[in-house]
Symmetry: C2
Subunit: 339 residues, 2 copies
């Protein structure tokens, strides 16, 4: 039975689930591991085998599911790829759990799955296992996706939020705040006179080139929910260091600055999904920065600050006017459901 | 700020998210990998390294989230552990993505997370990465959990739904239909005069003993959504064989039989979460069956049928009255949201 909307029976585990898996998931995501159709995907490790494996997960509840520059599917693939890249791992395989609301147009599901497939191809990862549940109308909001991912950590790479050292340089890969504002503008029906497209992108290629640049990279993190300010606070806490950043050095596009002013938001607290902040030893600043700027997703990379041992756990920003202010973690909720 | 219900700000990625992670997730699930608080958990592979890794995921939307014999947390851990065990893998690490509805009592979340921790201890797995999103009231139904898991596949183990061969014996680990009916009875407020408790349990210990028994195990699968009948159809299709089962040999408890009669349900289509069906070479029947019966979750194991090459893809059941009928895959939706 073909239906152009998702029905409860698509989540039954029976005939209609099997049809949906074949017609939508295998058609777009098809690969030999997924095709095995066993309860788990099994792959042979590279030889000589890796020493370390990385594992991560994120759930995506973004509303609306389609927004300028991306959709929930692209976000779910890029987010999990990026979480793996942020520990220096080479992302390999992803899983995807779908929770669908009864009545979701089947065409929307197909569009999202096709977008996941495209993002997977861009990042060089395969989606090898999945699951679909359907809840009755009103039991969920159209579609939620939870992706998990595994990757191999190359020998010698040791990247963690706890590894930042006094003297380290903080490098940001590009302008912040775009993703959160792109989603919000679509949701609230705001029309700006300028384009605002999510920066949602896989960063594993960028990270791979940064690692090849040679100098030690101590920490990588992508400032998603809570924005750059929250991410810096997490790192300052984990590494017991002070991070001093310079407002004038933080790339923020004119469009984001204007939109934030209109909406009373601070771009440093707005979510991103295609940016990273790196902490590198002083010697590595130049080679890493140059490597980043040669990459599509690092062209506007900039040094934004340095690490000291003054007040462990604190983030201080030198403002445009030369004053210093403490930059705290996000409190409350600035923009719900942007990822 | 402490709140005894979940607020949107708990999903912001900021201060309240961090507090919730510490007070609920780390407190119950705490382990060194989770404590690293990086974007992905990284572990060192056993030495000598495994050749093969298994990866799986499932989303859980069971309603109600607490039911006789279990809850959504225990289900999420057992389900993913079992999916790994069904390819013969030794489950190691799990991830958990939580989607919470604003207003969920914090005590309910704690109870579920504590239950996940207990199930993890029972199965010998650690939850090493997680994520929490909060959607506004009415945007989800209390709580959804998506778990993913990785395990190592021991050398020499080759288990797949595609490996069943004519002559193989089908062994079921115990009575079917309990989980689905336990959830449904709680949801519909049905009071039976007999106890009906979900069989939700981790089966990796049972599988480990079955593998040690020696004979070749060709296929393992846990009949969850769609029940035993659907699972047998999946396997018959994957292996291009006919499976003949004998109704009189299928263990069904008196309670499940009575409840199914009252409700007009067929126990062969009702979901389980603590049972498995194994296909083994004829020589392995006795040692595997004996190994199963020595285990807590295999005490009532029974041979339920055999594999032939008569009509590839078909499942036939010899009924209690001696007739043969084709057992098809579940069509439509029998019991929504039982997992």
């Amino acid at each position: 039975m073909f239906s152009d909307t998702i029905l409860l029976a698509h989540g039954s585990g029976g005939r209609m689930t099997h049809d949906l898996i074949g017609e939508v998931f295998h058609r777009h995501l098809g690969n030999s591991l997924l095709a095995a159709q066993d309860d788990a995907a099994v792959w042979v490790l590279s030889s000589p085998g890796p020493e370390r494996i990385a594992l991560t997960t994120d759930s995506y509840v973004v509303s609306p599911i389609f927004f300028p520059g991306g959709d929930i599917g692209r976000l779910a693939v890029c987010g999990t790829v990026n979480d793996l890249a942020m520990v220096g791992a080479t992302p390999l395989y992803l899983t995807a759990g779908f929770i669908l609301e009864e009545g979701l147009p089947r065409a929307d599901l197909e569009r999202v799955v096709a977008s996941m497939a495209a993002a997977g191809r861009q990042a060089g990862v395969k989606i090898v296992a999945g699951d679909t549940k359907v809840v009755e109308r009103g039991g969920a909001d159209l579609m939620f996706i939870t992706t998990a991912g595994v990757g191999e950590v190359p020998k010698g790479v040791c990247i963690s939020g706890a590894n930042v050292q006094p003297g380290d340089v903080a490098i940001l890969s590009g302008p912040v705040g775009v993703h959160g504002l792109a989603v919000m503008s679509r949701r609230e029906g705001l029309e700006f006179s300028f384009p605002l497209q999510s920066d949602c992108a896989p960063l594993n290629g960028l990270v791979s080139e940064m690692l090849k640049a040679g100098g030690p990279i101590h920490c990588l993190r992508d400032p998603t929910r809570g924005g750059l300010a929250t991410t810096l606070n997490e790192i300052a806490g984990q590494s017991r260091v002070e991070i001093e950043i310079d407002e004038v050095c933080i790339p923020v596009s004119e469009e984001v600055r204007a939109a934030c002013e209109m909406l009373g938001l601070d771009p440093l607290y707005v979510a991103n999904e295609g940016k990273l902040v790196a902490f590198v030893a002083p010697d590595a600043e130049r080679p890493v920065l140059e490597a980043m700027r040669r990459q599509r997703y690092g062209q506007q990379a900039a040094v934004i600050g340095r690490v000291t041992c003054a007040h462990p756990g604190r983030v201080v920003m030198k403002t445009l006017f030369g004053a210093h202010r403490i930059l705290d973690m996000l409190t409350g909720e600035q923009l719900p459901r942007i990822c």
